[in-house]
């Protein structure tokens, strides 16, 4: 990587300045809220930390997001590998289908899920004696899974595509079954992509609100709780919870990012 010097990299300097505008756009409201809270309403933040409903909703959010990510991993990674390794008619359509949850408004996603997983839905109805989705934890997971799975599939597919199939061929010639070659060669080499995809999937699931409130307003996850407090009690009541969620998410996110950076084993010299 090169050091920026004004003489040689004017274009990069201009691009950096333009990029800083976007960074400022992202950071300003978040920092304003966090530091505003710490400076002007620290007691509200302490109250939020001690509020069992807040802590419970944050833990619930993390748990359901993790469950959604685990399901996305089990079903999404094989699909990503298949898409990375095979060409077939209609592949473009399949790839577009995977991206649909990113494109459509999430309230629409929630309504669509409700028609399938609701009490009278094509899945919700036959499963009603075993599991309930409407206003229940499985409903939260389903909504999170729907909106977050594209991030994992796309990242994992990119990772698999970056692994030369010849490496798998060589492994096969050395006696590896296709599963051996996948787990001993392909997965380690695309692990970072899979991990980053999982982090993005988890993070997206954590932040989901629109689809969740349609299918499962209760049990209340953190975004729903923040919304509810904002509607019922105003900004001063919702802001401490929001700050707490931001801080927790940021810490977890940074830790996972650091772990994923350490997974670039094949880049080391």
């Amino acid at each position: 990587m090169q050091t920026l010097t004004p003489k040689h990299d004017r274009l990069l300097i201009v691009f950096l300045l333009l990029g800083l505008v976007i960074l400022a756009f992202i950071l300003t409201p978040l920092l304003h809220m966090v530091f505003g809270q710490l400076i002007s309403n620290r007691s509200g933040l302490i109250e939020a930390v001690n509020d069992s409903a807040v802590i419970k909703s944050i833990l619930l959010t993390m748990y359901t997001a993790l469950t959604a990510t685990a399901i996305a991993f089990v079903f999404g990674v094989p699909l990503a590998y298949f898409l990375a390794r095979r060409d077939f008619p209609g592949k473009g359509i399949v790839e577009s289908v995977i991206d649909i949850p990113i494109i459509i408004p999430h309230t629409v996603a929630g309504i669509a899920l409700l028609t399938v997983f609701g009490a009278h839905g094509m899945i919700g109805d036959p499963l009603s004696s075993i599991v309930r989705f409407r206003d229940a934890l499985p409903g939260v997971v389903v909504a999170m899974l729907f909106v977050s799975v594209p991030f994992l599939i796309n990242s994992a597919r990119e990772g698999f595509q970056s692994v030369d199939p010849r490496l798998e061929n060589v492994a096969r010639s050395l006696g590896a079954s296709s599963w051996d070659a996948f787990q001993r060669v392909t997965v380690p080499l695309s692990a970072r992509h899979i991990l980053v995809g999982s982090i993005l999937c988890w993070a997206r699931a954590m932040s989901e609100f629109g689809a969740v409130i349609v299918i499962a307003y209760y049990p209340m996850i953190a975004p729903t709780l923040i919304y509810e407090r904002y509607i019922s009690y105003g900004l001063s009541a919702s802001s401490p919870v929001a700050v707490l969620l931001i801080v927790i998410c940021l810490v977890v996110f940074i830790v996972l990012r650091m772990i994923s950076a350490g997974w670039r084993r094949y880049d080391r010299d």
């Binding site: 492994a171 096969r172 060669v185």
Partner: protein, 362 residues
């Protein structure tokens, strides 16, 4: 023995149709231009692709329906395909680990093969820090250590500098000699093929077009396309004027070329002549051979034409000289010879070559 019988595979824009027989312990080179399907053929033999039809016999077993891991075929790709997440030692022991070889034996065998190939000092290095030659050795060690019955080498020397190529070419020959492993090596490099091969198959557009010993391929190419590919730069169209006991007289434009062939008078043929077989001289012509103007001297050289130098191109220690004699003839001479004769563009010269150096094809 490996028997590839009526093997065919069709892709969208390319198809392979192969019949080939390779003896046990043979160093067999498949020589062909880029995009002739050489790598695809190796991948079919290794089982990375399934053929549409045909069989691949290894000994008495048809392996066409076996999985790659069941075929006991080692593979070395052009880019060596070293596993980048494993160090040299881990790369080499990869196959042994899969076979669940005990740790001590694994370590011993890895050390032995690293010593054999002179890469012990690299054992903890990763592929990114290895030179092409080092990667090639690692890749070879990794393929050989699992005791394959056949070794497939996909242009293993093409990514290396000349010096390393020479060194590793000798090493490949030595390893083949010591291990006695049936080896199929594909390349587009004729020197590589000539130096390594027991036999060569020329492959063009997905088909084997000629199989033979190196001298047969280079001196007696079966057709003009092969001749052109194997470096016979002088391919001249002509008509056989006469054939007296094998000594054939062929009219090539205004010239007459004498050659040894079985073609009869009136047949349309092509006269093939390698540039290194053409001698160039200046000053008094030793003799010339033209229609109605023969001057046979006491020499074994039966063909000589007047011409003018039209192009001189450096070619390593040699100079490639193009001479317009009515037909264009290319000669390869040493730089010293060119300098001693004072050759420049436009120099009048005489080109000569023996009848035995001429290969005639139909």
């Amino acid at each position: 023995m490996i028997g590839i019988n009526n093997l065919s595979r069709n892709w969208k824009e390319f198809s392979l149709n192969i019949d080939l027989h390779i003896e046990e312990g043979e160093y067999f080179v498949i020589l062909g231009p880029t995009a002739s399907g050489k790598t695809l053929l190796l991948e079919l033999i290794a089982g990375f692709y399934h053929p549409d039809s045909g069989s691949i016999m290894i000994g008495k077993t048809d392996v066409a329906d076996l999985l790659p891991e069941q075929r006991k075929i080692g593979f070395v790709y052009q880019d060596y395909s070293i596993f980048p997440h494993l160090n040299v030692e881990e790369n080499i022991e990869f196959g042994l680990k899969l076979k669940k070889t005990p740790r001590d034996e694994r370590r011993r065998r890895v050390q032995e093969i690293m010593d054999l190939l002179g890469i012990s000092h690299l054992s903890h290095r990763y592929s990114l820090t290895l030179s092409g030659g080092e990667q090639q050795r690692v890749s070879l060690a990794r393929a050989i250590i699992v005791d394959p019955e056949i070794l497939l080498l996909d242009e293993p020397l093409s990514a290396l500098d000349n010096q390393t190529q020479n060194m590793l070419r000798d090493e490949l020959k030595r390893i083949h000699h010591e291990a006695g492993l049936t080896t199929i090596h594909v390349t587009h490099d004729q020197t590589e093929a000539a130096m390594l091969a027991d036999r060569i198959a020329v492959m063009i557009r997905g088909q084997i077009v000629q199989v033979g010993a190196p001298e047969e391929i280079f001196n007696s190419p079966a057709n003009a396309e092969i001749a052109e590919f194997v470096g016979t730069e002088n391919i001249l169209a002509g008509i056989v004027a006469s054939n007296e006991g094998g000594l054939t007289t062929i009219e090539v434009g205004a010239h007459v070329v004498e050659a040894v062939s079985g073609y009869s008078a009136g047949e349309h043929v092509r006269v093939c002549l390698r540039p290194e077989d053409v001698a160039v001289s200046v000053g008094t012509m030793a003799f010339q051979t033209r229609h109605g103007d023969r001057d046979h001297r006491e020499s074994s050289v039966r063909n000589a034409f007047h011409g003018t130098v039209t192009q001189m191109t450096p070619y390593g220690a040699l100079t490639r000289v193009k001479i317009d004699c009515g037909v264009v003839i290319v000669a390869l001479i040493t730089k010293q010879s060119a300098a001693a004769m004072g050759l420049t563009m436009g120099s009048p010269v005489c080109v000569s070559f023996k009848a035995a150096a001429v290969h005639v094809i139909g």
